[in-house]
């Protein structure tokens, strides 16, 4: 497909790539830089790139504000939500992909639930969890307000539509003949799913997991309304740096860096598996 590119083109290409990456990376770089700045080097004009780095912001965030507690909460909520989304979503997607349940109508319905603005349902959710949290079932599953279960269920609800749509494409990409031969060999339908289909759909599942995790990790509105303290997540925790003396920029930067780090590591690890998955199965090879 490629003709041999000339050196000039290559230089231009890599120059352009460098600029593009610079644009996307710079704000985050600035954030990380700020996290190491002492207070007097932050809100100054002109902005300073050279200063004596300090770890006091991290100490403040981790120790004074106990930021690790928020990270722990966010980790629990995000991981469990993602696991449930992948599980329920894959099963449902497979059903739509192979059995055409509902002939497309149910599928449309599921995607349309994504279109409801969160603000409109925030109060019904608040009331539902308030009431459910008082029941025995609710208590055992931690579904009350300011409990992890409430957020987990909410996040599962928000990510299911996307997951299902993504995975339907994927499952349809897998040749039926493979599944048929497995059935002929004597495997039950569930076993076929486990041993044949899901492994082949791994890229799609990886993409679903990554985007769901990112969403849960970064979500703000529901975390803010449905939690108070015990189940507060990182995005809500950052708020505690908005003080009566103004925004504490150094600690906020430290907290933000700490909260971005796990996501970055996760994405870096997953990106190898994701590449094929990023086409959403829509490009038929």
């Amino acid at each position: 497909m490629q003709r041999k590119p000339s050196a000039v083109v290559e230089i231009l290409r890599y120059g352009a790539i460098f600029l593009v990456l610079g644009f996307f990376v710079f704000p985050i770089f600035w954030m990380v830089l700020t996290s190491f700045k002492p207070e007097e080097a932050i809100m100054v004009s002109p902005p300073r790139f050279f200063f004596t780095p300090t770890t006091e912001n991290y100490v403040h965030a981790l120790h004074d504000k106990n930021f690790l507690f928020y990270i722990k909460n966010t980790l629990i909520i995000s991981v469990i939500s993602t696991a449930i989304v992948v599980a329920f979503g894959s099963l449902a997607a497979y059903s739509f992909a192979r059995y055409n349940v509902g002939d497309g109508h149910i599928l449309f319905f599921i995607l349309s639930t994504k279109m409801m603005p969160a603000i409109a349902v925030i109060l019904p959710y608040f009331l539902i969890f308030r009431d459910v949290g008082k029941t025995a079932v609710g208590k055992s599953l931690h579904l009350g307000l300011d409990q992890h279960g409430a957020l987990i269920v909410s996040y599962v609800m928000f990510n299911l539509p996307f997951a299902i749509w993504l995975l339907v494409s994927f499952f349809q990409d897998i040749p039926r003949s493979l599944e048929h031969s497995a059935r002929l060999d004597g495997l039950s339908r569930i076993q076929v799913l486990r041993r044949v289909t899901f492994p082949l759909a791994a890229p799609g599942i990886a993409v679903t997991a990554v985007f769901t995790l990112i969403f849960c990790w970064n979500e703000f509105l529901f975390a803010y309304i449905l939690t108070r303290k015990a189940a507060s997540t990182v995005t809500v925790g950052v708020e505690s740096f908005f003080t009566l003396q103004g925004i504490l920029w150094g600690p906020v930067a430290a907290a933000a860096t700490i909260s971005v780090a796990p996501m970055l590591i996760f994405v870096l690890v997953m990106q190898r598996y994701m590449v094929r998955g990023l086409t959403f199965g829509a490009v038929r090879g």
Binding site: M43, L145, R228, E239, S240, F242, T243, Q245
Partner: protein
């Protein structure tokens, strides 16, 4: 003398220890929702003394100032009882009381009149009482005056130039016209001279809180109250002509403020001051003094002064503590309110630089010393402000729609500040919005 002191001490020790001869095995749980911040973090340590003395466990929840209102209302409407003690703005008290979100504490304070009387009288009228009942106790006041770079006002070169240009002596402004003149005078470009030295960056005469935040109306309150008018007149309507005039006064200051004025609130203005970019503020919260005084470290030769706003009228108010009506432990909550607003804690709060609400603390001579200037230098001015504003009250704090109005006022005002609409249009839009919120003229309680 010493012996009686010793025995008094022993008695005190015994009585306080004696409160817990038995162990505190089942502490009463209460939750306090409040604003995040250093002072509030210090408050958390004061909470410990309450817990020990009353066998209670207090959970402090820190919420961002801009979300405090909505978060608390949601919990109270949902009657979750999640917050026992809530923190309110002055403008929100009437609404919360009227809608039954908080419970009256008249009976509780019946035998604590000394404490109520110690609350600065001007504050007390606004933050404690509504329709004859006691609803809360203030613990933190953000009453406004103004901050200026006194060194600029004192500099002989500048004084001479000012007199030559404007015809009167350069001094702390007492009217808004003077304030505008001073703002204009000190707005200079990089390279111009200031105090005989060339500027290495642009300098602006005034720092304004013209961003999309509620503080813009706090700033403008100084102007509209200075005119003798109010946001709501006696009939519960917005006096459009007066609001237009106040808006015009505000707009006349805009050219002398940094462009960032349209995006910031009080912390942005403080950052500008500390970075040697502005000469003074408009009506500004005096509780920010410990922050403002840091300008002296950052800007060579700078001296800060806290003074009263022009016409001696500016935004007065405070954060008050109230008890939620869906609280499971209201008695303990009430005690907590009295504890934080009471003399013992207010004294400690003041020592850390907090803007206390009790007259006994504010007028304590120990805070008037030069050593205490960095933390309590604004007290003298604060006391003057309370004196000047004695007996003052705004109708905004007396209507049960106060909170809603307060949370939407900044839209038309900020639209005008940013140049999208005229002052007249802003005033008219404000009047229309208020009428929509109140469903007609707003009821004003007495």
């Amino acid at each position: 003398m010493r012996k009686s002191l010793a025995s008094a001490g022993l008695l005190a020790l015994l009585s306080s220890g004696g409160a817990f001869a038995q162990e505190c095995t089942d502490p009463v749980q209460i939750t306090w929702s409040t604003i995040a911040g250093f002072y509030t973090d210090a408050m958390a340590s004061f909470v410990k003394s309450f817990e020990d003395a009353n066998c209670a466990k207090v959970t402090v929840v820190n919420i961002d100032n801009s979300q405090l209102y909505n978060k608390q209302v949601i919990e109270m409407v949902g009657q979750t009882g999640a917050y026992d003690v809530v923190t309110l703005e002055t403008a929100e008290k009437a609404e919360f009381a009227e809608n039954g979100f908080i419970r009256p504490m008249t009976a509780f304070f019946a035998d604590k009149q000394d404490l109520l009387n110690d609350v600065s009288p001007t504050l007390r009228a606004m933050t404690v009482e509504y329709k004859g009942d006691v609803w809360g106790l203030p613990y933190y006041t953000y009453s406004a005056g103004m901050f200026v770079r006194q060194d600029l006002l004192d500099d002989p070169t500048e004084k001479e130039a000012f007199k030559a240009k404007y015809g009167y002596d350069l001094a702390a402004p007492t009217t808004w016209e003077q304030h505008r003149d001073i703002a204009e005078f000190f707005t200079r470009k990089q390279g111009d001279m200031l105090k005989g030295q060339p500027l290495d960056k642009d300098f602006y005469g005034v720092g304004l809180m013209a961003g999309p935040f509620p503080e813009i109306q706090d700033e403008m309150s100084a102007m509209i109250w200075g005119m003798g008018s109010d946001w709501l007149n006696a009939e519960g309507k917005v006096p459009v002509d007066d609001v237009e005039k106040a808006m015009d006064m505000y707009l006349r200051l805009m050219p002398f403020a940094p462009p960032a004025a349209l995006t910031v609130t009080y912390d942005g203005v403080m950052n500008q001051m500390k970075d040697c970019q502005i000469a003074m503020t408009a009506g500004f919260f005096l509780d920010q003094w410990p922050n403002a005084v840091k300008t002296e470290e950052n800007c060579p030769g700078a001296t800060m002064a806290a003074i009263e706003a022009p016409l001696k009228k500016a935004y007065v108010g405070g954060f008050l503590l109230a008890v939620s009506s869906s609280s499971a432990n209201p008695e303990m909550a009430e005690k907590f309110v009295a504890h934080i607003g009471g003399p013992e804690i207010q004294q400690q709060f003041a020592e850390m630089g907090g803007a206390s609400t009790l007259t006994s603390v504010l007028t304590n001579p120990m805070f008037a010393t030069p050593e205490k200037r960095a933390t309590n230098g604004q007290y003298a001015t604060l006391n003057q402000v309370f004196e000047s504003m004695a007996g003052f009250s705004s109708n905004l704090f007396k209507t049960p729609f106060g909170a809603k109005i307060y949370n939407t006022m900044q839209i038309p005002l900020q639209s005008a500040a940013s140049g999208q609409i005229s002052a007249r249009e802003a005033a008219e839009q404000l009047a229309a919005d208020v009428e929509k919120i109140c469903g007609g003229p707003c009821p004003i309680a007495n």
